[in-house]
Subunit: 452 residues, 2 copies
């Protein structure tokens, strides 16, 4: 393509008047600053390449705490501190899953134990695989049919939803409950088709949980093409699986969320922007959620660099332990309550560093209406979607306290190709997309700070 | 991120009534069909991996003609034919650019001759480099200052524009005119900073042209980081450049555009959808414009597969020679005129296979108003932007005949990282993004077919 667009400055010619004109000028200053001088992309390279993945409890996570502290200081925070959080420690260790069709040879499958799952304590556990395509199908099986079997929950991630988060929501119950369901009927362990939009063999980890008073049997994930192949095999013959793994919960530990802020010039009520500093223990935690961390720091830096005198305190929170406990978010909420800290608004970025399309809002209708009245300001930056009624996981405790919460809405098409996998690397993040997300976030924080 | 969005079916609850309800149901059928059963992604893999790049005049281009013919037949076209087009043949051959700072060693730079440029006919041409940052700066130089020099046009691709096409438009004149400007003042050849949004050393080719009666001296492109390094060098010392290249125009040749259609059930007026089959001679021409080709074929296939009885003829055109001549588009327009073929509407996809954001419209205001009145139907599919007033290069001859024309508007953030480079490969295309683009295109063609 080589056509020269004649309407190059179309977006500059939007009607602007009065208050809106001043905001429009500031919006442009913010985007020009970030798209040209933003540091989130190089900071993300540093975080992902020099620290890498950083599961709660790992040494790498503790390194990332020091890293975030340093970056917040460099960004110009007036005050930076660590908030103590007691986090669960889960470790993966070695793991292998093999299958044997009929009397054939054992074949290794690419797999990942699900996060929080117990393993086999280094022993081989094997049994015949039975496959179900849905919970309804599993419900029909008797305990006799499941006893001593390996249950393969082969529920597909739907390609039909336009927003991939809907497909994720639709299939998530399989990841979270497969082990407990299998244990209830006497099965040995569970295999789950990954929550993945990709047509590859990459397994996706992610949190699972055990029901109370249920034997903690293992659950593992396999990639989509591996699941397809296993499904085909099972149609014609008996297949045995053998799991050997060492993963499991290793107690609790004191760790930290990292907080930095610039003090409000008019009052001390708080506008929060954040993401989660931890990641799963595969890949580099680039989109999930290194992106949200560096974007949030970019917001603070941009206020400082542009001399945008913030009325309220703007606070960046790098939450600990979102992935397998949300202890950072819970502790933050508890502290807000204890200290009676007034929060005006909280915005999280935790849906990937892709090209932004809007901000989801979870607050009363009058506030949503007001934010929507600003939408013509956001449109030239590609943000048009203020329809979502949800917000980030870490700020749900704040939402439950009645604080208006929100989440950046990036394009969702690529996210579940790489989410919670070895493929979630820096190379999958595009510089301009990441910076544009930080731009929308800064613009929204600017509007809230000025007009609330 | 692991939050479960509670509004999973929000987009299904949009108000639908009367005519709109029927259209809304068809929109959903179209997206479900394409997102699940669409073949454009696998067809693109086939085109890019088994044929690869396919510059006009090359053997590969002729292979792609046969390929497109076959794919249109497989998609269910009632009629497939080739349209003769006389195309220019430009060949690259070998090429090298070296520089030497002061009395240092010769260092090779990563470079690409610009498309349509003449080379050095295998001889070394060398001279001192002088750098200008803008046309204004170049205008101030006398012929004495430029004579026998190599002019380095070091104009940056702006990061400030939100839509990267605006930055491309802004800088494109350097690529197209550098050689002629340099020749006018007696320079030996021109080096141009690539039209690139990336922070790497990848050179971007693309079409240049010679003014009449001007000596056809060479023009080459270097990547952004190479340009940065050269700029730094030039600040402190004299730098000599040496070019050796064999590129040049090799006359003309008979070639073809490929056309397939499904006949209208009510009348024979034509709705056109297309892209260009040729590409530059580097990379795989995946985003530019393999994507547009396979998406256009997807439109036709979807009408057939869903049994959407088209009132008008839906015609897919795979244009020849967009990149360095637009001869396919020109020939098509000429033939339309000669045969007095009535065209209702023409839609091109030639801005990359990225997540779609809308459709740009070039037609009279009443028609634009009508299309905009459909926008609530498109919104659940992420298409909200019907503001652009341009259309595809290949269909400009139709636009000039008063036919309403349009172009798919994909997200633009990543496009100019890879445009016209060795990096424009299949791996850079995301399956769901490509299919979603084909979805929006099919939906638009469905609406035009039904309501015009």
């Amino acid at each position: 393509m080589k056509n020269i667009i004649s309407t190059a400055v179309l977006f500059l010619s939007l009607p602007i008047f009065g208050q809106t004109k001043e905001d429009s000028i500031q919006f442009r200053r913010i985007s020009t600053e970030i798209l040209n001088k933003g540091k989130s992309y190089t900071e993300l390279r540093d975080l992902t390449k020099n620290i890498g993945h950083r599961l709660s409890g790992s040494e790498a996570y503790e390194k990332s705490v020091k890293w975030a502290e340093q970056k917040l200081k460099e960004a110009g925070a007036d005050k930076v501190w660590l908030q103590e959080v007691i986090i669960p420690v889960w470790e993966r260790g070695t793991e292998s899953l093999k299958i044997k069709a009929g009397n054939g040879k054992w074949i290794s499958l690419k797999m990942l134990s699900l996060g929080n799952s117990e393993g086999t304590k280094g022993k081989n556990i094997s049994g015949e695989i039975i496959m179900v395509k849905s919970l309804a199908e599993y419900d029909k099986l008797s305990s006799d049919q499941v006893k001593d079997k390996i249950v393969f929950f082969n529920y597909p991630f739907s390609q039909s939803y336009v927003l991939t988060f809907h497909a994720y929501s639709d299939a998530a119950v399989y990841r979270s409950t497969a082990a407990s369901l299998t244990a209830k009927k006497g099965g040995k362990f569970a295999i789950v088709r990954s929550l993945s939009s990709a047509f590859d063999d990459v397994p996706h980890t992610g949190a699972m949980r055990y029901d109370k008073d249920i034997e903690k049997i293992p659950a593992v994930a396999i990639g989509n093409t591996t699941a397809d192949e296993l499904e085909t095999l099972l149609k014609s013959q008996k297949v045995t699986a053998k799991l050997n793994s060492n993963c499991g919960m290793k107690g609790e530990k004191l760790s930290h969320s990292v907080i930095g802020e610039i003090t409000g010039h008019k009052d001390k009520s708080i506008i929060l922007v954040g993401g989660h500093l931890d990641s799963w223990d595969v890949g580099e935690g680039a989109h999930d959620d290194g992106a949200g961390i560096v974007q949030s720091i970019e917001v603070l830096r941009t206020f400082k660099n542009l001399g945008l005198k913030n009325n309220h305190t703007i606070r960046v929170v790098c939450f600990a332990n979102e992935e397998n406990g949300v202890k950072g978010g819970q502790q933050y909420g508890k502290t807000v309550k204890e200290n009676n800290e007034k929060h005006l608004f909280a915005l999280e970025s935790d849906a990937g560093g892709f090209s932004p399309r809007g901000i989801a809002l979870e607050m009363d209708e009058s506030k949503i209406k007001q934010i929507k009245s600003w939408s013509s300001l956001f449109l030239p930056y590609g943000a048009y979607d203020f329809e979502g009624r949800y917000s980030g996981t870490d700020i749900y405790p704040l939402k439950d306290m009645g604080i208006p919460t929100a989440e950046l809405v990036p394009d969702s098409q690529r996210y579940f190709d790489i989410h919670h996998t070895e493929e979630d690397t820096f190379e999958k993040v595009n510089r301009r997309e990441l910076l544009l997300g930080a731009t929308i976030m800064t613009q929204m924080i600017y509007m809230i700070d000025k007009h609330w």
